[in-house]
Amino acid sequence: MTTERNESAAKGRLDTVKHAAATPEAEQPWKELGLKEDEYARIREILGRRPTGAELAMYSVMWSEHCSYKSSKVHLKQFGEKVPVNDAMLVGIGENAGVVDVGQGYAVTFKVESHNHPSYIEPYQGAATGVGGIVRDILAMGARPVAVVDPLRFGAADHPDTRRVLPGVVAGIGGYGNCLGLPNIGGEVVFDACYQGNPLVNAGCIGVMKHEDIHLAKASGTGNKVILYGARTGGDGIGGVSVLASETFESTGPAKRPAVQVGDPFQEKLLIECTLEIFREKLVAGIQDLGGAGLSCATSELASAGSGGMRVELDTVPLRDSSLSPEEILMSESQERMCAIVEPQYVERFMAICEKWDVIATDIGEVTEGSQLEIFWHGEQIVDVPPRSVAHEGPTYNRPYARPDWQDALQADDANKLPRPATSGELREQVLRLVASPNQASKAWITDQYDRFVQGNTVLAMPEDAGMVRIDEESNLGVTMATDGNGRFAKLDPYAGAQLALAEAYRNVATTGAKPLAISDCLNFGSPEDPAVMWQFAEATRGLADGCLELGTPVTGGNVSLYNQTGDAAIHPTPVVAVLGVIDDVNRRTPMAFAEEGQLLYLLGDTREELGGSAWSQVVHDHLGGVPPRVDLGREKLLAEILISASRDGMIDAAHDLSDGGLIQAVTESCLRGGKGARLIVPDGLSAFTFLFSESAGRAVVSIPRSEELRFNDMCGARGLPVTRIGVVDGDEIEVQGEFSIALSELKSAHEATVPGLFA
């Protein structure tokens, strides 16, 4: 019955270009496909006729918010305008992922993407295919993927639905990433009620290549073949277009197609190995992964970036479900597929490599002399469009934005005025509550579900400040990545919040001894149609662009995820920033563990009374108000320089950055990691409370051998970084002199029991 439909379609009911030209008045379901009236009118204007069903399908997905960035583009422009002088950039924004030079002839590409919505509907598969998608992006740049990271946000830790979503998401990320053989070296897990109906599942990947291996997504060279390879195409992820199919094909329309895709990590692993072998033999002229919008996106982007046109015989696409209509094939988001442009003389070899890896590969068309993207179905033309108009010339909106009227009241509700612990006993009790709270507690139960050792190059991974992998076994060159984003800070002040996210990730990278080079981001926000959300977005992007300019770390690419809201309630604005760093010799890396009894603890940076948006205000008072900690990017840069020099010169044995939870959180983590206690002295001029809980930015704590104390102090003094000796590594408890002490064993069980208690 299914082939019958296709045959009858081929016999005349197919909406061909000719038919479209002849029937200008035919009704089309543009509205159901999410297009606005003026957008539909523009398509008609571009084509000089009504679009065919297939063309309408392509425009509707490619002009969607997700693919066209129509609401965010005007703001993202800044990342290309406020570019810091940084000679590491090899490929900038606009490609599948940016590429930076890390020295010794190596280049690194990295990117973070969101898979938020699918992960709420089907946590396992949603998260799994999120990993799959970002890995293909990196692969498409010509790089071998070497590590993944996964910044995650969930609803309240104790909400019953979080019990459904979190274990599924974690199993999905692990199930897919572990099976690909990519070590998971970092990420975040944050709980907040604002994410209840809208968890954030961001996934990032790092890839490594030699400079000469960079591949770009373009189709040029008349006569070159378009080869689709990987999984067969099925009806996944094309929910919306089935409307179109059933309109076009009357009553025999297929059942509603699922909006969720199922991933096959095994197939992806084969795709990776196969593609890398193809790269090694230099067989491709251009390459593109198939992600959102599937073939529509891959063909239009490849053609748009190339010099000529492209002709595709859509009926040659290998299918898993023979009932798919041409529109559906164009839109299908079936996973684990890639599209390559191959010179005719290399096709045979290309096919042989695919055969070796059991990967199906099909010649589906070729690069043509013209300038149009032309798609045929059993010999009849169903698409004839200028590819740029689909891929790059979608609508752009300058949506109205306005500082929300509640922002002032929120900032006026000052967290510094919240009641503080009155006694040492209360202070002690609040420390224990803090380190046991879901956001500050150990995430080992989660991260232990990820393989962090595979490939045998992992130098640092969770719970270290940043992940680090060796990329050259001879020279010990390594790369580092940290991701951060604090939605609470961003809610209080989106401009500062974005800069704090950047500063924290930057600091985390530097803490390990690596030099921060460049960033990628994943901007998770509510509906752009809400002026308050749009203001948050505008402020956050402005903050991030300004911050990158000042820190000298360009934005190499990223991802925007809008409409993260439940009803009218938007999530906290959540810009997640991934900073990539490089270290010449991984032997010099600085770990976080306080492991050497007798070493001195120094606090670097200034501690002010800054509790707005802090973990303390959340855990003890369930409060969000005031302003976030002050941002001083000049100071962040100086701190980073000190941490990097100290690691290079072997002055420090351990370091840990200070962020949410403040000093006591950082010291607890480093002591537990090293299995040693610490005696702390409250510095003059600070209350014990502020010393322990303030979240002032630009700080880190380091452990220094006594023999290096003088040299270290001299270096900091000479460069003007305030440092304070705050104690010593000692014993098996954390003691805050004159206040309280807590046995490591008690801290350990408080810190480690929470997450398994909730989810195991």
């Binding site: 089907e122 598969q125 999984a231 099925g234 996944d236 699922p258 969720v260 199922v262 898993r320 996973q335």
Partner: protein, 83 residues
């Protein structure tokens, strides 16, 4: 005690990598003549008390909300045997 079996299979239009892996292996094992393989889950529930309409309705609900994710899976419920 009665046994109720809930079979959960991926919807036909959804990719079934497990079933495909089995199918692809068959020729190598010298088996042919099998056009398609799908792999799903089988749950055997031992039910206390009688499996009346009310009990079956509840098991259907259980299957729908918990044992299967109906976004991607179909299920069937059947009473297997009385012991």
């Amino acid at each position: 005690m009665a046994r109720v079996v809930v079979d959960v299979m991926l919807k036909p239009e959804i990719l079934d990598p497990q079933g495909q892996a089995v199918q692809r292996a068959l020729p190598r094992l010298g088996f042919d003549g099998i056009a398609d393989v799908r792999q799903g889950k089988r749950f055997e529930l031992e039910v206390d008390g009688p499996v009346d309409d009310a009990a079956l309705a509840r098991i259907n609900e259980l299957a729908e909300t918990f044992l299967a994710n109906t976004v991607i899976e179909n299920f069937t419920v059947k009473v297997e045997e009385e012991k």
